[in-house]
Symmetry: C2
Subunit: 508 residues, 2 copies
């Protein structure tokens, strides 16, 4: 630890230099610091992987908190925010790879098999949580004479505190040991994020005139419209990419071009959705699903390996960088001076109420179908408490102004969001590991309440089975029936045209 003094002096000297230097020099210094920090996080995180209490995310945050204090002391953070406008950095560069990778890596069979449960948790959870947070803040703030927020801000606040971050839990679950639990936690996290973002977009289009029945209907229409067009755009671009990859590289493969085309088309789907002011997150998520379902089968063997790992790496670097960057605001004096602590506490209280109710609601609704084992429910409930990258990105989108100046209400809202994200990541991150170890002892992990193997057995005869009883199945069990119908259509028409046909179905 004797190097810390030296490091501190170095940083103070650099900070003084930055104040005088041009923007390129300041960028070089801050990037050097960030990249060094990321490397240290990866290395230390790996060493403590087997530790009972720590995981990589937690170590990263502890390290970051330590460094933020130095940043804070050296006044570096204020300079950083001038360099990179928040919204642009978060929404244009960091979020797309994270969400695309989520879609690309999702286990599609599990995801669509449990589609009903996932949508219940994800979709209804967001709606419940958003309603509670919005209603709570709307009720409390005016009564306590706190702040001067508009209806649109309250609605936005609800969606911001509804986007869960399940990454930390996923790091500790194993896809092979607990496939159902993994797919529920993962799928729910993604659907939750997507729903929150689409709802947020719908709220942004909301015109300030009080929330009556007509306005509510209008918002529901916007929500459905955004959800549909964004999904369709993502699917279409994913299919185009698959077709291009298939028709172009038949017989002669070029790994570099294949990877470049996959990454660029995915990014294009995000950017086009943003261009039309739809939801880029939803587009790029579905583009990822379709690209891995069809396009991925058309590329060479090394492209398959490369795409899988390169996208995952890019996503995790983006995520670490986002946390690093956002944390600089916690130690920002300019924001501190504006923050109203009471207002912040109430917001956090509403978040806690919303998060818990939405989980309980979701669990009650879905309880009858799949989940008989108590530990799984606890883990799903637990994983839904965390808030992450999407919350922060949305908060900046709503409450930061392009000029950099801020009013006190907006500063408080950003402060609360950052606080909740850092707190849940830190505390939940530390507690999750022992919790899972206690709830899921190794001999229990293989006891899965609903095994996908029964489904697997039907697979060979599915198309004949389908023709016989599709209507009765649809009435009895809608999700499975839709899934079977889709499988038949997929095998007969989609795969032969877009790729992924043949007897072997290896999923990334």
């Amino acid at each position: 630890m004797e190097n810390v003094g030296w490091l501190y002096e170095f940083l103070v000297a650099k900070a003084a230099e930055i104040s005088a230097a041009g923007s390129q020099r300041a960028a070089v210094i801050s990037i050097s610091l960030f990249v060094s920090l990321l490397c240290v996080c990866i290395v230390i995180g790996h060493y403590y992987e087997e530790n009972r209490w720590l995981n990589q995310a937690t170590i990263a945050i502890i390290l970051k908190l330590f460094l933020y204090m130095i940043f804070f002391l050296s006044g570096l953070c204020c300079r950083l925010r001038d360099l990179y406008p928040h919204e642009q950095l978060l929404f244009i560069y960091l979020l797309p790879p994270i969400i695309f990778n989520a879609g690309f890596q999702v286990k599609k069979k599990q995801f669509f098999h449990n589609f009903g449960t996932i949508m219940l948790f994800g979709g209804s959870g967001v709606l419940i949580s958003a309603s509670i947070v919005t209603a709570g803040c709307k009720y409390m703030f005016p009564r306590l004479k706190l702040g001067n927020l508009q209806m649109r801000d309250y609605l936005a606040l609800g969606t911001i505190f509804s986007a869960t971050d399940t990454v930390a839990t996923l790091q500790l679950l194993h896809q092979d040991e607990t496939p159902l639990l993994y797919s529920l936690v993962f799928g729910e996290g993604v659907v939750n994020d997507a729903t929150a973002v689409v709802l947020f977009r719908a709220v942004q289009r909301f015109e300030e005139a009080g929330l009556d029945g007509k306005a509510a209907l209008r918002m529901i229409y916007e929500f459905v419209y955004l959800f549909s067009v964004s999904t369709v755009l993502g699917v279409v671009i994913g299919l185009i990419a698959a077709y291009v990859l298939k028709s172009l590289y038949f017989g002669k493969h070029s790994t570099d071009k294949e990877i470049a085309l996959m990454a660029l088309m995915a990014y294009l789907s995000y950017m086009l959705a943003e261009l039309f002011q739809w939801s880029g997150i939803l587009s790029v998520f579905f583009c990822g699903i379709f690209m891995s379902h069809y396009g991925w089968h058309n590329v060479s063997g090394s492209s398959k390996i490369t795409s899988k790992h390169a996208f995952a790496t890019f996503s995790s670097i983006s995520e670490s960088f986002m946390f690093l960057y956002v944390g600089t605001n916690v130690f920002n004096v300019n924001i501190w001076q504006l923050v109203d602590v009471r207002q912040s506490r109430i917001t956090e209280l509403c978040y806690a109420a919303g998060a818990n109710s939405s989980r309980e609601g979701g669990i009650c609704l879905s309880n009858v179908r799949h989940l008989q084992l108590c530990p799984c429910v606890v883990i799903i409930w637990w994983s839904g408490i965390m808030r992450g990258a999407v919350s922060i990105a949305l908060a900046y989108q709503q409450f930061s102004t392009s000029s950099g100046t801020m009013n006190a209400d907006y500063a408080t809202m950003i402060y609360s969001t950052t606080g909740v994200v850092l707190f849940t990541t830190l505390v939940v991150g530390v507690v999750t590991k022992p919790l899972i170890a206690t709830l899921l002892p190794h001999h229990l992990r293989h006891l899965e309440p609903s095994s996908p193997k029964d489904e697997e057995a039907n697979e060979d005869g599915s198309s004949t089975f389908l023709r016989r009883s599709s209507l009765s199945m649809l009435l009895a069990n809608p999700t499975s029936a839709v899934h079977s119908l889709w499988r038949g259509f997929d095998d007969s028409y989609m795969r032969p045209f877009f790729g992924g046909g043949g007897p072997v179905r290896w999923e990334p």
Copy 2:
């Protein structure tokens, strides 16, 4: 082609929107356009790969020229330059992956075996070319009463027009068919770029006081100093990365972390060199060499494949983007109004004289050693005419001011550089393919003047052979002797410690 009218109207409408919109909206529109264009380039480039006249770079440029006209008409380009400051975009984000990939992919055995020849071409070529361009411009401009450039600008101009771009030629040569020619063209291009950049940095430190003997000595000292410290920094970080990868992941591999660590450490070497105001390009190049020589052997099989392809893809996307971005300036009216055509023509003339003399000088010097076959010499000469990404980056570094305003001299110099780069890429790009086809018919390609197989045969007994006659070898053939000494040291000490030991030596 009936879609073009629609596209034009769409772009004009978007351009009008951009003028009014905030910076995030403008960024979304421009990124959407750029990414679409990149996708189209890749697809069309692939279709015309077998064509006699075209290659991917040429098609990209033709497409770009077409779109630049639309950009130009719609006034989009002016807006774009406000969004992204040139220097920062080029030097901080786009150049590092290009150069790192060059170091990572270089065939080290061939590269170091022909180190002498490569250094002759690369190092001396730059010095000859830079001297001629500097002297020519310094002599002509004052006599014709053109411009008001300082001595430092003339020196910078010399280095800018000395950085060759051999990518287009390399796309058409095959590493397996003509290993010597490939390694010469490749290695020379990289050494040339690195030398030009280091020379450019040395020139930037040059204090304005006339170029007397003392100043020249000072510049040589700066050159040697920058070259050494940057190389050492790159080597040290490459070795640290190799050691970390080896000690950390022994037994348990995590592909994502390995790739992230490799990419981040490489980027760190670039950024640290820039932080100390050394040459990031040289650092990241040597970091790439050492990372592929040691670190690459310590990672898992899928990391090996992923790193190889992901870095190559990232590099080629960066390069395409750089060209796309830079080309917007060709159709920039604000610069056009300032350009002095006579001054520009003279600069281009000096470039032509410099480029040719440096090639001839290099060829004369090295002729005795390796190259008896005329076609190879012609191709090396030809490949050295092109100017590319590094020239443009340096020109912006020297001649663009952070405020965005420009004086006439600086505008002319940027205009000349961009013109030379686009012209050589277009013309040389079109002519190279038939030239190589004519000069190197298939039956000739396997006739290599100096075969590396003799060297290969010695490999097994090299360490005993080395002890017997290292001094006599050093006197007879300095490069080979140094190479053998290094091989002995490498096998005995470096590989066991940093990785890459064992009987199989598979190079990326």
